[in-house]
Amino acid sequence: MTLPSFSTEDDPGPNFVALIKEYGVEPLKVQHPVDNLAHGTTCVAIRYKDGVVLAGDRRATSGHHISHRTLEKVFQSDTFSGVAISGAAGPAIEMVKLFQLQLEHYEKVEGKSLSLEGKANQLSTMIRQNLPAAMQGMVVIPLFAGFDTREKIGRIFQYDVTGGRYEEKSFATTGSGSLHATTVIKLGFKTELSSSDATELAANAIFEASEEDAATGGPDLIRDVFPTISLITKDGYSPVPHSDVSLIFNRIIENRISRNGDHK
Protein backbone atom coordinates (compact mmCIF):
# COMPACT_ATOMS: atom_id res chain seq x y z
CA MET A 1 0.00 0.00 0.00
CA THR A 2 1.43 3.35 -1.01
CA LEU A 3 0.59 6.64 0.66
CA PRO A 4 -2.70 7.99 -0.61
CA SER A 5 -2.26 11.24 -2.52
CA PHE A 6 -4.89 13.11 -4.50
CA SER A 7 -5.12 16.12 -6.74
CA THR A 8 -6.96 19.07 -5.22
CA GLU A 9 -10.17 18.30 -7.16
CA ASP A 10 -10.26 14.62 -6.14
CA ASP A 11 -9.29 15.10 -2.51
CA PRO A 12 -11.84 13.30 -0.31
CA GLY A 13 -11.21 15.65 2.63
CA PRO A 14 -11.99 14.22 6.06
CA ASN A 15 -14.56 11.77 4.64
CA PHE A 16 -13.51 8.15 5.12
CA VAL A 17 -16.36 6.72 3.06
CA ALA A 18 -15.34 8.93 0.12
CA LEU A 19 -11.73 7.83 0.65
CA ILE A 20 -12.49 4.11 0.42
CA LYS A 21 -14.58 4.79 -2.69
CA GLU A 22 -11.43 6.13 -4.34
CA TYR A 23 -9.97 2.71 -3.61
CA GLY A 24 -12.88 0.90 -5.21
CA VAL A 25 -14.70 -0.15 -2.04
CA GLU A 26 -18.36 0.53 -2.78
CA PRO A 27 -21.34 0.17 -0.46
CA LEU A 28 -23.14 -3.16 -0.75
CA LYS A 29 -25.16 -3.43 -3.97
CA VAL A 30 -27.63 -6.29 -4.19
CA GLN A 31 -29.54 -7.28 -7.32
CA HIS A 32 -31.74 -9.97 -5.85
CA PRO A 33 -33.41 -10.48 -2.50
CA VAL A 34 -31.30 -12.48 -0.08
CA ASP A 35 -33.15 -15.01 2.07
CA ASN A 36 -32.45 -16.19 5.58
CA LEU A 37 -30.02 -13.47 6.56
CA ALA A 38 -29.29 -13.10 10.24
CA HIS A 39 -31.40 -10.29 11.73
CA GLY A 40 -30.83 -8.46 14.97
CA THR A 41 -33.66 -7.13 17.09
CA THR A 42 -34.73 -4.93 20.05
CA CYS A 43 -32.75 -1.85 21.09
CA VAL A 44 -33.81 1.08 23.27
CA ALA A 45 -32.43 4.49 24.21
CA ILE A 46 -33.70 6.47 27.19
CA ARG A 47 -32.74 9.98 28.26
CA TYR A 48 -32.09 10.48 31.92
CA LYS A 49 -30.68 13.21 34.12
CA ASP A 50 -26.97 12.71 33.28
CA GLY A 51 -27.29 11.62 29.65
CA VAL A 52 -28.58 8.62 27.77
CA VAL A 53 -28.83 4.90 28.45
CA LEU A 54 -28.55 2.61 25.43
CA ALA A 55 -29.52 -1.06 25.60
CA GLY A 56 -29.98 -3.98 23.24
CA ASP A 57 -30.64 -7.71 23.30
CA ARG A 58 -28.14 -10.29 22.01
CA ARG A 59 -30.12 -12.52 19.67
CA ALA A 60 -29.82 -12.78 15.89
CA THR A 61 -32.35 -14.85 13.96
CA SER A 62 -32.60 -16.21 10.44
CA GLY A 63 -36.28 -16.91 9.97
CA HIS A 64 -37.26 -19.24 12.83
CA HIS A 65 -33.68 -20.23 13.48
CA ILE A 66 -31.59 -18.57 16.20
CA SER A 67 -28.27 -17.87 14.48
CA HIS A 68 -26.41 -16.08 17.31
CA ARG A 69 -26.99 -15.81 21.03
CA THR A 70 -24.15 -13.46 21.88
CA LEU A 71 -24.31 -10.82 19.16
CA GLU A 72 -23.43 -7.31 20.35
CA LYS A 73 -25.81 -4.69 19.02
CA VAL A 74 -24.78 -1.73 21.15
CA PHE A 75 -21.50 -0.12 20.12
CA GLN A 76 -19.45 2.83 21.19
CA SER A 77 -19.11 5.09 18.15
CA ASP A 78 -16.70 7.60 19.71
CA THR A 79 -15.92 9.14 23.11
CA PHE A 80 -19.34 10.72 23.57
CA SER A 81 -21.69 8.64 21.47
CA GLY A 82 -23.00 5.16 20.88
CA VAL A 83 -25.04 3.39 18.25
CA ALA A 84 -27.44 0.45 18.58
CA ILE A 85 -28.50 -1.57 15.56
CA SER A 86 -31.48 -3.55 14.38
CA GLY A 87 -32.00 -5.23 11.03
CA ALA A 88 -29.76 -7.40 8.88
CA ALA A 89 -26.77 -8.22 11.08
CA GLY A 90 -24.04 -8.31 8.41
CA PRO A 91 -24.69 -4.93 6.76
CA ALA A 92 -25.53 -3.39 10.16
CA ILE A 93 -22.20 -4.37 11.69
CA GLU A 94 -20.36 -3.16 8.61
CA MET A 95 -22.26 0.14 8.85
CA VAL A 96 -21.25 0.55 12.48
CA LYS A 97 -17.62 -0.23 11.65
CA LEU A 98 -17.60 2.38 8.90
CA PHE A 99 -19.39 4.89 11.11
CA GLN A 100 -16.86 4.45 13.92
CA LEU A 101 -14.00 4.84 11.46
CA GLN A 102 -15.61 7.87 9.88
CA LEU A 103 -15.91 9.70 13.21
CA GLU A 104 -12.33 8.89 14.21
CA HIS A 105 -10.98 9.69 10.74
CA TYR A 106 -12.70 13.08 10.71
CA GLU A 107 -11.40 13.84 14.19
CA LYS A 108 -7.82 13.02 13.23
CA VAL A 109 -7.79 14.79 9.87
CA GLU A 110 -9.60 17.92 11.07
CA GLY A 111 -8.10 18.00 14.56
CA LYS A 112 -11.51 18.16 16.27
CA SER A 113 -14.59 15.96 16.52
CA LEU A 114 -17.79 16.42 14.59
CA SER A 115 -20.70 17.97 16.50
CA LEU A 116 -23.31 15.48 17.73
CA GLU A 117 -25.67 16.84 15.08
CA GLY A 118 -22.96 16.23 12.45
CA LYS A 119 -22.48 12.66 13.62
CA ALA A 120 -26.24 12.00 13.47
CA ASN A 121 -26.37 13.39 9.92
CA GLN A 122 -23.42 11.26 8.89
CA LEU A 123 -25.26 8.12 10.01
CA SER A 124 -28.29 9.34 8.08
CA THR A 125 -26.25 9.42 4.87
CA MET A 126 -24.98 5.89 5.49
CA ILE A 127 -28.53 4.54 5.97
CA ARG A 128 -29.64 6.29 2.79
CA GLN A 129 -26.77 4.70 0.88
CA ASN A 130 -28.01 1.33 2.11
CA LEU A 131 -31.47 1.91 0.61
CA PRO A 132 -30.98 -0.31 -2.51
CA ALA A 133 -29.93 -3.16 -0.22
CA ALA A 134 -32.81 -2.39 2.14
CA MET A 135 -35.24 -2.77 -0.77
CA GLN A 136 -33.89 -6.31 -1.16
CA GLY A 137 -34.57 -7.19 2.44
CA MET A 138 -31.38 -5.99 4.10
CA VAL A 139 -32.86 -3.24 6.21
CA VAL A 140 -30.61 -1.58 8.79
CA ILE A 141 -32.22 0.79 11.28
CA PRO A 142 -29.88 2.08 13.97
CA LEU A 143 -30.49 4.24 17.01
CA PHE A 144 -27.95 6.92 17.69
CA ALA A 145 -27.43 8.49 21.11
CA GLY A 146 -24.79 10.71 22.55
CA PHE A 147 -23.86 13.43 24.96
CA ASP A 148 -23.83 16.82 23.26
CA THR A 149 -20.79 18.52 24.75
CA ARG A 150 -21.91 21.92 23.39
CA GLU A 151 -25.50 21.80 24.72
CA LYS A 152 -24.50 19.71 27.78
CA ILE A 153 -27.38 17.26 27.34
CA GLY A 154 -27.95 13.70 26.21
CA ARG A 155 -29.64 13.42 22.81
CA ILE A 156 -31.31 10.55 20.96
CA PHE A 157 -31.82 10.13 17.21
CA GLN A 158 -34.09 7.65 15.49
CA TYR A 159 -34.02 6.80 11.77
CA ASP A 160 -36.15 5.33 9.06
CA VAL A 161 -35.03 3.20 6.14
CA THR A 162 -34.55 6.20 3.81
CA GLY A 163 -32.11 7.83 6.23
CA GLY A 164 -34.83 10.12 7.66
CA ARG A 165 -33.58 11.41 10.98
CA TYR A 166 -35.86 12.13 13.92
CA GLU A 167 -34.66 13.48 17.21
CA GLU A 168 -36.51 12.16 20.24
CA LYS A 169 -36.76 14.15 23.45
CA SER A 170 -37.28 11.30 25.90
CA PHE A 171 -36.76 7.82 24.44
CA ALA A 172 -36.63 5.75 21.26
CA THR A 173 -36.77 2.07 20.32
CA THR A 174 -35.98 0.03 17.23
CA GLY A 175 -36.40 -3.57 16.03
CA SER A 176 -39.14 -6.18 15.97
CA GLY A 177 -39.71 -6.07 19.73
CA SER A 178 -39.86 -2.28 19.80
CA LEU A 179 -43.63 -2.17 20.24
CA HIS A 180 -43.45 -3.94 23.58
CA ALA A 181 -40.32 -2.13 24.68
CA THR A 182 -42.01 1.22 23.94
CA THR A 183 -45.01 0.37 26.11
CA VAL A 184 -42.79 -0.51 29.06
CA ILE A 185 -40.75 2.68 28.74
CA LYS A 186 -43.89 4.81 28.28
CA LEU A 187 -45.29 3.52 31.58
CA GLY A 188 -42.08 3.96 33.53
CA PHE A 189 -40.64 7.13 32.02
CA LYS A 190 -40.20 10.35 33.95
CA THR A 191 -38.03 13.32 33.10
CA GLU A 192 -34.79 13.51 35.10
CA LEU A 193 -34.64 9.78 35.87
CA SER A 194 -31.65 8.69 37.95
CA SER A 195 -29.00 6.56 36.30
CA SER A 196 -30.05 3.40 38.17
CA ASP A 197 -33.76 3.94 37.43
CA ALA A 198 -33.03 4.55 33.75
CA THR A 199 -30.84 1.44 33.55
CA GLU A 200 -33.55 -0.63 35.18
CA LEU A 201 -36.25 0.77 32.91
CA ALA A 202 -34.15 -0.11 29.85
CA ALA A 203 -33.57 -3.64 31.21
CA ASN A 204 -37.30 -4.08 31.86
CA ALA A 205 -38.11 -2.92 28.32
CA ILE A 206 -35.72 -5.44 26.77
CA PHE A 207 -36.98 -8.17 29.10
CA GLU A 208 -40.61 -7.54 28.18
CA ALA A 209 -39.77 -7.40 24.46
CA SER A 210 -37.98 -10.75 24.75
CA GLU A 211 -41.06 -12.24 26.44
CA GLU A 212 -43.39 -11.17 23.65
CA ASP A 213 -41.19 -11.23 20.55
CA ALA A 214 -39.57 -14.46 19.35
CA ALA A 215 -36.74 -12.63 17.58
CA THR A 216 -35.58 -10.83 20.74
CA GLY A 217 -33.36 -12.62 23.23
CA GLY A 218 -33.81 -12.22 26.99
CA PRO A 219 -31.33 -12.94 29.77
CA ASP A 220 -29.67 -16.29 29.02
CA LEU A 221 -28.97 -17.82 32.44
CA ILE A 222 -27.61 -21.07 30.98
CA ARG A 223 -24.78 -19.31 29.14
CA ASP A 224 -24.55 -16.30 31.47
CA VAL A 225 -25.28 -13.95 28.57
CA PHE A 226 -27.26 -10.78 29.23
CA PRO A 227 -28.49 -7.88 27.11
CA THR A 228 -25.99 -5.03 26.71
CA ILE A 229 -26.53 -1.77 28.58
CA SER A 230 -24.33 1.33 28.21
CA LEU A 231 -24.44 4.83 29.64
CA ILE A 232 -23.34 7.98 27.84
CA THR A 233 -22.72 11.02 30.02
CA LYS A 234 -20.43 14.05 30.18
CA ASP A 235 -17.65 11.62 31.16
CA GLY A 236 -18.11 9.65 27.95
CA TYR A 237 -19.37 6.22 26.96
CA SER A 238 -19.27 3.46 29.55
CA PRO A 239 -20.74 -0.03 29.37
CA VAL A 240 -22.52 -1.20 32.52
CA PRO A 241 -20.38 -4.09 33.88
CA HIS A 242 -21.59 -7.64 33.33
CA SER A 243 -22.00 -8.26 37.07
CA ASP A 244 -24.36 -5.27 37.44
CA VAL A 245 -26.40 -6.22 34.39
CA SER A 246 -26.66 -9.77 35.67
CA LEU A 247 -27.91 -8.45 39.04
CA ILE A 248 -30.57 -6.27 37.42
CA PHE A 249 -31.93 -9.10 35.29
CA ASN A 250 -31.89 -11.59 38.14
CA ARG A 251 -33.93 -9.11 40.16
CA ILE A 252 -36.44 -8.78 37.34
CA ILE A 253 -36.73 -12.58 37.11
CA GLU A 254 -37.21 -12.98 40.88
CA ASN A 255 -39.83 -10.28 40.79
CA ARG A 256 -41.74 -12.10 38.03
CA ILE A 257 -41.53 -15.42 39.88
CA SER A 258 -42.86 -13.90 43.09
CA ARG A 259 -45.86 -12.49 41.18
CA ASN A 260 -47.01 -16.03 40.40
CA GLY A 261 -47.49 -16.66 44.11
CA ASP A 262 -49.08 -20.06 44.74
CA HIS A 263 -50.87 -20.25 41.40
CA LYS A 264 -48.31 -22.37 39.62
Binding site: M1, T2, P4, S5, L101, K108, V109
Partner: protein, 227 residues
Protein backbone atom coordinates in the same frame (compact mmCIF):
# COMPACT_ATOMS: atom_id res chain seq x y z
CA UNK B 1 21.42 27.64 -30.41
CA UNK B 2 21.43 28.12 -26.65
CA UNK B 3 22.91 25.27 -24.69
CA UNK B 4 21.84 24.86 -21.03
CA UNK B 5 24.69 25.16 -18.59
CA UNK B 6 26.05 21.87 -17.38
CA UNK B 7 25.36 21.26 -13.68
CA UNK B 8 26.91 18.15 -12.15
CA UNK B 9 24.49 15.80 -10.38
CA UNK B 10 26.47 16.27 -7.15
CA UNK B 11 25.98 20.01 -7.37
CA UNK B 12 22.30 19.67 -8.15
CA UNK B 13 21.66 17.43 -5.13
CA UNK B 14 23.75 19.67 -2.93
CA UNK B 15 21.71 22.72 -3.99
CA UNK B 16 18.43 20.98 -3.32
CA UNK B 17 19.59 19.77 0.08
CA UNK B 18 20.77 23.29 0.97
CA UNK B 19 17.43 24.70 -0.08
CA UNK B 20 15.51 22.20 2.07
CA UNK B 21 17.84 22.62 5.05
CA UNK B 22 17.45 26.39 4.95
CA UNK B 23 13.67 26.10 4.99
CA UNK B 24 13.78 23.69 7.94
CA UNK B 25 16.30 25.78 9.89
CA UNK B 26 13.91 28.76 9.85
CA UNK B 27 11.36 26.86 12.00
CA UNK B 28 11.45 26.08 15.70
CA UNK B 29 12.65 22.68 16.92
CA UNK B 30 10.98 19.78 18.65
CA UNK B 31 12.18 16.91 20.82
CA UNK B 32 10.70 13.44 21.10
CA UNK B 33 11.90 11.28 23.96
CA UNK B 34 11.17 7.86 25.45
CA UNK B 35 10.04 8.31 29.02
CA UNK B 36 8.49 6.22 31.75
CA UNK B 37 4.95 6.14 30.32
CA UNK B 38 5.88 5.93 26.63
CA UNK B 39 6.99 8.67 24.25
CA UNK B 40 6.82 12.40 24.98
CA UNK B 41 6.93 15.00 22.21
CA UNK B 42 7.68 18.62 23.09
CA UNK B 43 7.55 21.25 20.34
CA UNK B 44 8.01 24.95 20.36
CA UNK B 45 4.89 26.21 18.63
CA UNK B 46 3.37 29.66 19.18
CA UNK B 47 0.17 28.59 17.39
CA UNK B 48 -2.53 26.78 19.33
CA UNK B 49 -4.37 25.59 16.28
CA UNK B 50 -1.76 24.75 13.66
CA UNK B 51 -0.41 21.60 15.20
CA UNK B 52 3.07 20.17 14.73
CA UNK B 53 2.29 17.04 16.72
CA UNK B 54 -0.73 14.87 16.03
CA UNK B 55 -2.30 11.45 16.19
CA UNK B 56 -2.03 9.05 13.27
CA UNK B 57 -3.41 5.83 14.69
CA UNK B 58 -3.99 3.95 17.93
CA UNK B 59 -0.32 3.78 18.92
CA UNK B 60 1.27 6.03 16.33
CA UNK B 61 1.96 9.75 16.51
CA UNK B 62 3.29 12.18 13.92
CA UNK B 63 5.45 15.26 14.39
CA UNK B 64 6.73 17.62 11.73
CA UNK B 65 8.89 20.71 11.44
CA UNK B 66 9.53 23.05 8.54
CA UNK B 67 6.89 24.24 6.16
CA UNK B 68 3.45 23.75 7.74
CA UNK B 69 1.41 23.05 4.61
CA UNK B 70 3.94 20.46 3.47
CA UNK B 71 4.16 18.42 6.64
CA UNK B 72 0.41 18.71 7.19
CA UNK B 73 -0.12 17.19 3.77
CA UNK B 74 2.14 14.31 4.85
CA UNK B 75 0.24 13.97 8.13
CA UNK B 76 -3.11 13.64 6.36
CA UNK B 77 -1.67 11.11 3.91
CA UNK B 78 -0.45 9.15 6.95
CA UNK B 79 -3.86 9.19 8.66
CA UNK B 80 -5.47 8.00 5.42
CA UNK B 81 -2.89 5.28 4.92
CA UNK B 82 -3.29 4.03 8.49
CA UNK B 83 -7.10 4.13 8.51
CA UNK B 84 -7.31 2.39 5.14
CA UNK B 85 -4.88 -0.29 6.24
CA UNK B 86 -6.71 -0.84 9.52
CA UNK B 87 -10.01 -1.07 7.65
CA UNK B 88 -8.77 -3.52 5.02
CA UNK B 89 -6.80 -5.74 7.40
CA UNK B 90 -6.92 -5.25 11.16
CA UNK B 91 -6.00 -2.50 13.61
CA UNK B 92 -3.01 -4.58 14.76
CA UNK B 93 -1.55 -4.59 11.25
CA UNK B 94 -0.99 -0.83 11.21
CA UNK B 95 2.61 -0.17 12.20
CA UNK B 96 5.02 2.75 12.25
CA UNK B 97 7.77 1.00 10.33
CA UNK B 98 5.76 0.52 7.17
CA UNK B 99 4.37 4.05 7.43
CA UNK B 100 7.88 5.47 7.86
CA UNK B 101 8.98 3.56 4.76
CA UNK B 102 6.10 5.02 2.79
CA UNK B 103 7.02 8.51 3.91
CA UNK B 104 10.65 7.90 2.99
CA UNK B 105 9.63 6.71 -0.47
CA UNK B 106 7.48 9.76 -1.02
CA UNK B 107 10.03 12.28 0.26
CA UNK B 108 12.85 10.59 -1.66
CA UNK B 109 10.82 10.66 -4.85
CA UNK B 110 9.94 14.33 -4.46
CA UNK B 111 13.55 15.19 -3.62
CA UNK B 112 14.90 13.72 -6.85
CA UNK B 113 11.99 14.17 -9.28
CA UNK B 114 10.16 17.35 -8.40
CA UNK B 115 11.09 20.98 -8.99
CA UNK B 116 11.56 21.63 -5.31
CA UNK B 117 12.20 19.30 -2.37
CA UNK B 118 9.87 19.36 0.63
CA UNK B 119 11.19 21.65 3.36
CA UNK B 120 10.26 19.28 6.15
CA UNK B 121 11.61 16.84 8.67
CA UNK B 122 9.15 14.44 10.18
CA UNK B 123 8.94 11.91 12.98
CA UNK B 124 6.78 8.79 13.21
CA UNK B 125 6.64 7.49 16.77
CA UNK B 126 5.09 4.27 18.02
CA UNK B 127 4.58 2.64 21.40
CA UNK B 128 3.91 -1.06 21.44
CA UNK B 129 4.41 -4.24 23.38
CA UNK B 130 7.14 -6.70 22.57
CA UNK B 131 6.01 -9.67 24.61
CA UNK B 132 5.64 -8.24 28.10
CA UNK B 133 7.92 -5.28 27.61
CA UNK B 134 7.10 -1.89 26.19
CA UNK B 135 8.94 -1.07 23.01
CA UNK B 136 9.23 2.48 21.75
CA UNK B 137 10.14 3.25 18.19
CA UNK B 138 10.87 6.57 16.56
CA UNK B 139 11.56 7.04 12.87
CA UNK B 140 13.15 10.36 12.01
CA UNK B 141 12.73 11.05 8.30
CA UNK B 142 14.60 13.80 6.48
CA UNK B 143 13.64 15.94 3.46
CA UNK B 144 15.49 13.58 1.07
CA UNK B 145 13.91 10.38 2.39
CA UNK B 146 16.74 9.37 4.72
CA UNK B 147 15.33 7.37 7.62
CA UNK B 148 16.95 7.29 11.04
CA UNK B 149 15.69 4.81 13.59
CA UNK B 150 15.89 6.05 17.19
CA UNK B 151 14.78 4.43 20.40
CA UNK B 152 15.74 6.93 23.10
CA UNK B 153 15.27 10.41 21.64
CA UNK B 154 15.20 12.52 18.47
CA UNK B 155 15.57 16.24 17.77
CA UNK B 156 14.03 17.84 14.68
CA UNK B 157 14.14 21.34 13.21
CA UNK B 158 16.23 24.49 13.46
CA UNK B 159 19.44 24.34 15.55
CA UNK B 160 18.83 20.64 16.02
CA UNK B 161 22.56 19.85 16.41
CA UNK B 162 23.03 22.24 19.33
CA UNK B 163 19.78 21.08 20.96
CA UNK B 164 20.78 17.46 20.41
CA UNK B 165 24.05 17.99 22.27
CA UNK B 166 22.36 19.81 25.14
CA UNK B 167 19.68 17.17 25.44
CA UNK B 168 22.24 14.38 25.44
CA UNK B 169 23.62 15.66 28.74
CA UNK B 170 20.14 16.05 30.27
CA UNK B 171 18.68 12.80 29.03
CA UNK B 172 18.19 9.82 31.32
CA UNK B 173 16.27 6.69 30.53
CA UNK B 174 12.88 6.10 32.15
CA UNK B 175 12.29 9.70 33.27
CA UNK B 176 8.92 10.53 34.83
CA UNK B 177 6.73 13.04 32.94
CA UNK B 178 7.72 16.11 34.98
CA UNK B 179 11.41 15.44 34.60
CA UNK B 180 11.18 14.63 30.92
CA UNK B 181 9.20 17.76 30.06
CA UNK B 182 11.61 20.00 31.94
CA UNK B 183 14.64 18.40 30.31
CA UNK B 184 13.08 19.01 26.88
CA UNK B 185 12.32 22.65 27.66
CA UNK B 186 15.85 23.22 29.01
CA UNK B 187 17.38 21.74 25.89
CA UNK B 188 15.12 23.79 23.60
CA UNK B 189 15.82 27.10 25.34
CA UNK B 190 19.41 26.39 26.45
CA UNK B 191 18.21 27.73 29.80
CA UNK B 192 18.67 31.22 28.38
CA UNK B 193 15.12 32.30 27.75
CA UNK B 194 11.74 31.70 29.31
CA UNK B 195 9.07 29.95 27.38
CA UNK B 196 5.36 30.28 28.04
CA UNK B 197 3.31 27.04 28.26
CA UNK B 198 1.09 28.59 25.60
CA UNK B 199 4.02 28.58 23.18
CA UNK B 200 4.61 24.88 23.69
CA UNK B 201 2.86 21.97 22.08
CA UNK B 202 3.21 18.84 24.16
CA UNK B 203 1.73 15.40 23.60
CA UNK B 204 2.38 11.95 24.94
CA UNK B 205 1.96 8.51 23.46
CA UNK B 206 1.22 6.02 26.20
CA UNK B 207 -0.36 2.58 26.33
CA UNK B 208 -1.92 3.65 29.63
CA UNK B 209 -4.27 5.99 27.76
CA UNK B 210 -6.19 3.03 26.35
CA UNK B 211 -6.69 2.06 22.72
CA UNK B 212 -5.87 5.54 21.47
CA UNK B 213 -2.50 6.14 23.09
CA UNK B 214 -2.15 9.74 21.92
CA UNK B 215 -2.96 12.50 24.40
CA UNK B 216 -2.35 16.24 24.17
CA UNK B 217 -1.06 17.85 27.33
CA UNK B 218 -2.91 21.15 27.84
CA UNK B 219 -1.16 24.44 28.68
CA UNK B 220 -2.62 24.38 32.21
CA UNK B 221 -1.12 20.95 32.84
CA UNK B 222 2.23 22.04 31.37
CA UNK B 223 2.24 25.01 33.75
CA UNK B 224 1.91 22.65 36.71
CA UNK B 225 4.72 20.43 35.43
CA UNK B 226 7.20 23.22 34.74
CA UNK B 227 9.59 23.94 37.60
Amino acid sequence: MNMPFYVSPEQMMEDRADYARKGIARGRALIAVSFKRGILIVAENPSNTLHKVSEIYDRIAFAGVGKYNEFDQLRIAGVRHADLKGYSFSRDDVDARSLANQYAQMLGHIFTHEMKPMEVEILVAEVDFEGENLRNQMFHILYDGTVKDESSFAVLGGESDAIFERFQTLHKSNMPLKKAINACIDALTAGERDIEPDDLEVAELSIQNGRRAFRRIAASEIQELIN
